[in-house]
């Protein structure tokens, strides 16, 4: 089962050098344990563009779809057998990147 771990941030600017070192070490561990599927850091919300192509013309809007004080600054996708394993990975991830994270399962069997 796969879980999305979103990194929640309220300050602009990317991770510090110390945080990057900790994140790299954590990624290496998660990869070695076979949990790591994908991860990435996102640029600032101000770089976002919202696209709406539901109607007759394609609309582009500058900025994020939600203006909020907190935003998703990056994410991991982990493969884990159950929520307890995913929570443990998320807790280690939170420590490594020094930010709060949110865990959400992908639709899977039985969901």
């Amino acid at each position: 089962m796969q879980y999305l771990v979103s990194v929640i941030d309220d300050k602009s600017g990317s991770a510090t050098d110390d945080e990057m070192t900790a994140i790299d070490a954590f990624n290496a561990q998660a990869q070695a344990a076979g949990h790591w599927v994908f991860a990435g850091g996102l640029n600032a919300p101000s770089t976002a563009t919202v696209i709406d192509n539901r109607g007759s013309e394609t609309l582009f809007t500058d900025g994020p779809f939600l203006e909020s004080k907190e935003y998703v600054a990056g994410f991991w996708i982990f493969e884990a057998p159950d929520l307890d394993v995913a929570l443990k990975l998320a807790a280690d991830g939170s420590k490594a990147c020094n930010r709060r994270v949110e865990v959400r399962p992908f639709y899977g069997e039985g969901a």
Binding site: M1, P81, D82, L83, D84, A86, L87, V103, P105, G108, E109, G110, A111
Partner: protein
Amino acid sequence: MTDVHAATTRAHREQWARVVAALTRRFGDLDIAEEAAAEAFATAVERWPVDGVPPNPGAWLTTTANRKAIDRIRRESKRDDKQREARMLQDDDPPEPTGAIDDDRLRLIFTCCHPALALEARVALTLRLVGGLTVAEIARAFLVRETAMEQRITRAKAKIKATRIPYRVPAAEDLPLRVSGVLATLYLVFNEGYLATGSGSDPVREELTDEAIRLTRLIRALLPRDGEVTGLLALMLLTDARRTARISADGELVALAEQDRGGWDRALIAEGHHLVRERLATGEAPGRYQILAAINAVHTDARDVRDTDWSQVVALYDQLIRLDPSPIVALNRAIAVAELDGPDVALAVVDRLDGALANYHAYHATRADLLRRLGRSSLARAAYDRAIELAGNTAETAYLTRRRDQLNRTL
């Protein structure tokens, strides 16, 4: 007939959690387990008066519930789906060596009290799936509509399924934290029963206090060496022992100092003291429930309030504050300080908590009492007013109102 009724009630009390837990393990689905268990008990209510009580009610109920579950799975012809789900929830690994008995009920309790669930969802799930209360009973106990409670339970079960909360006893390293989540849930159930909120409700809801004690006893039977489990059970017993003396005939809260100690339940006190001594004998550092139990042991040790060993109470609160430096603990400690060092010393402590506890009824009630004892009546009256405004328990409101009105007469 009454024998059959008693046997059915006893079977429900003793077997419900076992049946739900065993079915959850077998079918890997809380919904199926809950429904099949409910159907099996309904069948027992119907059949036992006619056929007689089976020699082994637990086995009869489990077999019947199993059959009901299989019937339901066939009926819904979702057999493949359900088996797939079963693999999902099921955990066939033996639990880590925790010193715990491998009892399915323990898995059930840990699943219901998982930290990813909100505390109110844990309470509802635990009372339904482990305690066997009906949704209507739980809704009534927490003063919410039955549909709202049903939804709360359904959502919690859906989260367990969608996020794959495992059905297992946590690993040894996670056990202390997870047990504390279970105990917090049970303590909330107990407190809601002991100091029930809601203006239209009984001041004490025995169905909740009794259920909390029963479930804590169950957890103690399953985790006998866990000090905090024993501590919480002792705390509940020593608190519950004072239940009848705590509310007067006309429904008013009776303060600890004014309670008729002859009305305390000596058997519960003896059991609580025994548990506290058992923990002391281990020489292990106590956790918060054990310290709270010890404080209650000191109170229940005194045949007269004047015999209370207040220095011991304050020393225990000092110990508790080191573990839990919260303003509420500081407030309770101040109440003991008032007895040891005088209300003026206590008031100075209490006044420093104003920022954190300004909306907490007990803060104002404590302040009011200290001000009253110091003869500062107009300040006391204002504090009583605020406490009455914030208090949610009918017996407590009655007590505070009388105290305030006594002040009025003296002015």
